[in-house]
């Protein structure tokens, strides 16, 4: 219902306002739907989406692995803990894209630079959430674990990790959101590699040739992907931490 009103308002704006009537500046819902349909049918939008998702998954994957490593080291050693809290305090407030120019300098104009930026954007939110998950683990259960003689590694894998699961999922959710924004922004800045461009690049190219409906279609795609991922995380939570009573739905 709300969606219908929204699309109605959009169509009305496109039809009646002077700005909305300018085809080079504004696309109506119908034109957007047309561009969306064409883009998916001829594969150009699908390619761009796949390219973006591939890099995103790779980047977040690298970031998450490093984050887990950092957190485990931080939990097991005092120096590691201090180092991680210092690093997160410095790096976490930094917007991910801010690292892009430096990454371009270090890795050249390549996917590597984007991956580095992405990994950097995802490490810190995951690390913060995991650390707080480990810290808030039930001390009684931890003490029981120590009492029955678990090694530090098993303590982490069998006691702390399951206890920190809700935080881990929150961390991943934040990381995905950060990563997604960083990636699209990076593609826009980078805006470059003709053959293997993602959605940001698709938007840029549509802008070059003044195909405004295509820009709108790419934005719709990005928004839809956001909804899908959000739903995916909700499902994951429902299947795990809600079902196991660690968090109420």
């Amino acid at each position: 219902m709300l969606l219908a009103i929204f699309v109605g308002a959009w169509a009305a704006y496109a039809a009646w306002s002077e700005f909305g009537q300018n085809d080079l500046l504004f696309a109506s819902p119908l034109e957007t739907a047309q561009a969306f349909w064409d883009g998916w049918r001829d594969g150009s939008l699908a390619d761009a989406t796949w390219q973006s998702l591939r890099i995103l998954l790779l980047g977040v994957g690298i970031g998450a692995s490093i984050a887990v490593l950092f957190t485990v080291v931080a939990t097991l050693t005092k120096v590691g803990e201090d180092a991680l809290s210092l690093l997160t305090a410095i790096m976490n407030p930094l917007p991910g894209v801010a690292m892009l120019p430096l990454a371009m300098l270090w890795f050249g104009l390549s996917t590597k630079a984007v991956l580095f930026t992405l990994a950097n954007a995802t490490i810190w939110p995951i690390a913060i959430n995991l650390t707080s998950g480990f810290k808030t683990a039930n001390p009684t259960i931890l003490a029981v674990g120590r009492n029955i003689g678990l090694s530090s590694v098993r303590l982490v894998s069998d006691v702390l990790a399951p206890a920190a699961l809700p935080n881990a999922i929150t961390g991943l959710k934040t990381a995905w959101a950060f990563g997604w924004r960083t990636l699209i922004a990076a593609e826009l800045v980078f805006g470059v590699v003709g053959g293997e461009g993602g959605l940001g690049n698709y938007i840029n190219n549509a802008k070059l040739y003044l195909f405004t409906p295509q820009m709108f279609a790419a934005l719709v795609t990005i928004a839809l992907l956001g909804v899908v991922f959000e739903y995916g995380f909700t499902l994951l939570e429902r299947r795990t931490i809600v079902k196991w009573g660690m968090q109420r739905s």
């Binding site: 104009l109 470059v192 590699v193 053959g195």
Partner: protein
């Protein structure tokens, strides 16, 4: 009787009003100038006619009340967006973005072409000897629709059999960044313009291809107005054409002075000696005569780079003052 008199007064008043309105309208049409004028161009000595006008304050002195702003933007796309949004009145750009804009329905034309230029594709790696060696390599042009990208596709079509053969490696960089990247080895080739191609050559890069070899002598840059602006401020626009033509004459008659102006505008480096030498280089010719616009447009259209409206003749692409120049 009173009614009649009233009617007479009303008719007389209406007549006076009409005459006054007509007079102001006609007076307005000749004297009308915009309150505010934003002129946008890009880095490079190709924009010298505008740089000369800026430094000599030609427009500022002629129109004292006008709020005039000069802006240097990194690409024709940025200027296109500014023109569409109504923030830029005079935009100077390469023929690529100009033709794309025209094809996509922006109602604009050239008020004055600025020059013809032989654009060079520069490489530094000694292992790159032919265009075929650039397959899969990184090639920077100002944007994907730039005249450099268009010429690169023409080269790819002629030498490699497909206009899209090198598209996968295209990067968008403005000229100064591209020059740094080429010299630092971050990219493999840079398709650029004067003076950057001269500077790159001086610093060890080689010329792999020249645009004249594929398109003949062709217009490189032009100053563009919307038709709406032209019809509203016709005499102002025609004067703008004459001012640009005068600046171009100055480049021919007094290159020494122009070189000094360019050095000043560049902040002292390159020096005027360099600029003077470059102005004399055959790779750049300043003229308001358009050449090869249709050849460029036809190629772009044939290779899907010009989706939309095709001009039927070069005169569709220019305003009346340019028409007598016998362009193509």
């Amino acid at each position: 009787m009173q009614k009649l008199r009233l009617a007479a007064v009303v008719i007389a008043a209406a007549l006076v009003a009409t005459v006054v309105a007509a007079a102001t309208a006609r007076g307005g049409a000749t004297a009308l100038v915009p309150d505010k004028l934003v002129i946008a161009y890009q880095p490079g000595m190709g924009y010298a006619p505008l740089i000369i006008m800026k430094s000599q304050r030609t427009l500022e002195r002629r129109y004292p009340g006008m709020q005039i702003e000069w802006r240097v933007l990194p690409s024709g796309t940025a200027i296109t967006n500014g023109v569409i949004a109504g923030q830029i009145q005079v935009g100077a750009m390469g023929t690529g973005p100009f033709l794309v804009g025209y094809a996509r329905g922006i109602d604009w034309k050239m008020i004055a072409p600025l020059n013809e230029a032989d654009l060079w594709l520069m490489v530094k790696d000694p292992n790159i000897r032919t265009l075929a060696d650039l397959r899969g390599k990184r090639i920077a042009t100002p944007t994907n629709t730039s005249i450099q990208a268009v010429v690169l596709r023409k080269m790819a079509e002629v030498r490699l059999g497909s206009s899209k053969a090198l598209d996968a490696g295209l990067l968008a960089m403005d000229h100064p960044d591209g020059m740094q990247a080429l010299l630092a080895g971050q990219i493999d080739a840079h398709f650029t313009s004067p003076p950057f191609q001269f500077q790159e050559k001086n610093r060890g890069a080689r010329v792999l291809g020249r645009s004249y070899g594929y398109f003949g002598a062709h217009t490189f840059l032009g100053a563009v107005l919307t038709s709406r602006f032209y019809s509203e401020y016709t005499s102002f626009s025609n004067q703008l054409y004459r001012d640009i033509a005068a600046a171009i004459r100055l480049i021919r008659t007094n290159p020494q002075k122009v070189a000094t102006i360019l050095q000043q505008d560049a902040g002292g480096n390159p020096t005027w000696r360099q600029f003077k030498q470059w102005i004399g280089n055959a790779a750049i010719t300043y003229t308001t005569r358009p050449r090869g616009l249709m050849r460029t447009a036809t190629f772009m259209n044939r290779t899907d780079q010009l989706p939309g409206r095709m001009p039927s003749s070069w005169t569709d692409l220019v305003f009346p003052p340019v028409v007598p120049t016998k362009g193509s």
